[in-house]
């Protein structure tokens, strides 16, 4: 084996390790969040488009998407840009039905509480938010039924998000506490 070929094989081995490391590191990270993350439920809306690589999914629009700062955290909110979206930390609470609410926004990582790294832009007295999760992948035969189920009972649909150290993963979508995939499967079985 000449040295040039040897270098190519070594380069290929390094490339293979890097290529493997990218998806595996993501898998490990989110597996960790799935096991140890805190559960937060968000209100949501949904419909079912298609991704050429990852298949059918229900678009998840988490709510609340607007935040009006109170007097006690107005100074903190003033630091959020009004020109372009910037990364901020949303400190989360719960309403009387158990759905997530935003208690405050901070440009610095909070030391306590449940928080999530989101993107925000300030517009006068309101702050608009973009959450990093927007898709719930489903089996292609179930995605259409899932969409109609969501629209039938949008008020009781919840996106179950697990949060750990500011990073979130979408664990499930539920309607009245029942997983969406199970409901969609039942609906498909009745047809």
């Amino acid at each position: 084996m000449n040295s040039y070929r040897g270098i190519k094989v070594i380069a290929f081995a390094v490339l293979s390790v890097v290529c493997l490391a990218v998806p595996i590191s993501q898998a490990v990270k989110y597996c960790w969040i799935q096991k140890h993350g805190e559960v937060v439920k968000f209100r949501m809306e949904g419909f079912d488009p298609r991704d050429i690589f990852r298949g059918k999914y229900v678009t998840v629009r988490l709510s609340p998407r607007k935040y009006i700062p109170g007097k006690d955290n107005a100074a903190e909110s003033e630091q959020i840009s009004s020109q372009e979206y910037q990364t901020v930390y949303a400190v989360l609470g719960k309403d009387d039905k158990g759905f997530a609410t935003i208690e405050s926004l901070s440009v610095r990582r909070p030391e306590h509480g449940t928080y999530w790294k989101v993107r925000a832009i300030r517009a006068k007295d309101k702050i608009s938010l973009i959450y990093p999760l927007d898709r719930f992948y489903m089996n292609e035969h179930l995605a259409g039924d899932a969409e109609s189920l969501i629209w039938k009972d949008i008020q009781n649909t919840a996106a179950v998000v697990r949060l750990k150290d500011g990073t979130g993963m979408l664990d499930d979508v539920e309607i009245n506490g029942v997983p969406l995939a199970r409901l969609a499967r039942e609906m498909a079985g009745k047809k």
């Binding site: 490339l15 290529c19 990218v22 998806p23 898998a27 989110y30 990852r54 927007d134 992948y137």
Partner: protein, 438 residues
Amino acid sequence: MSKEKLNVKCAHWLLDELPELKAQSVIDETAANRLERYYREQLSSQPDQRWKRLSIVTGILGALFACAGLALIVAHNWDELPAAARLAMGFLPFAAGIPLGIYTLLRDRGIAWQESSAILMGMGIASSIAVVSQVYQLGGELPAFMRIWMILMIPLIVLFRSFTVQMFYSIAFFVMIVNLQGIDDVYILWLLPVAGYAVWEMWKHPESIRAALYRYASIPIIYSLILILEDQGDHLQGIMTLPISVLIAGALTVYGTTMKGNVPWGKNPYPVCGFLSLAVLALIFSYPDNWYHYSSCFLPGWSRAVCSILGAGAGIWLIAGAIMKRQWSRLLPVAMAGLLFPGVYLFFGNNLLPNLIMTALTLGSGIWLLLLSVRCRSMAAMNGGMVLILALALEWFCASDLPILITGLSFIVMGLLFGGANIGFGIYLKKIVREEVK
């Protein structure tokens, strides 16, 4: 001789010389006949260089179809399986690509192996990232997914000298910037490594078939560059000026045949590229939505005129060349597609008929080439015909609302069909040659 590799060129030269040697009484009739018989037998058992080249195309296209099928099977989302099984399934093409890649590099295998390894690795990377996104419900739009994929594809292009992956990269980049809200000039940096490598390959081996294919694979790069520099905010306009790029490539390659007109088609990559350009044009306009967008978008008049003139020009060129040289095999319906394109567009505008005409011409070209391949015993014609028919089938699958799983399985079947047809046809041709020698 039988133990050593036969020098095919020298054998052909000797066979060409035999009549002259006989005429000059250098060798007698019996010796000439024995020599001819011996070398024809030897040649019939040798893999033809053209077949070798075509096996590259077969390998690449078979691998492309099969890998696309595998990616779609992952996209089906087998949510009834446990996460570990789904992850294992998504990583399978990648795992298969590693030993293949090591074998190709260690044994210094040829283009077909290099391309197949690079394609398998490229698709393996895509399916592994996709399956993790799917299992852990990660967000992110298509451009974000493609960015990660493309970064990892750059070393593959260089390591395996793969023009197919370069083509993938260029098309993926094009799709990515078309899907972006605003295109920043910094995106040019994404083009530099692949464009630079393509230029280096073309400069180092200017006459090779690889260089010719790099030229073709560079078209989406040139087009993306135009899109970045212009960025008029109307991406639809950008998409539909694509035929102009394709037609310019077609016109240039057809022009290339005038400079190398005496070189047979098997050894001249330019007419192959010209044929592919017209085939791409016919395929683009076989897709109903594209015809609708082309008719309804706000294209400047000059670009429509350029597109139409070049289409007609390329079509006329191929047809006139075929008639004047009496080479009827060049009289392809795909050239008719180029010729008829402006007329169809002007007279019929935006309705079903132009789409049907283009589809019929593309399908007709495919069938014509298949028939021609049997008559002329040409594997090139058979592959050309199969490419057209399979590409048309691929378009139909994409345009229809068929389940992803069915589409994926169909792609795999098409890949196997392509490979099987080539192997079968190769055996058939060899058998005929052997019978003729006897």
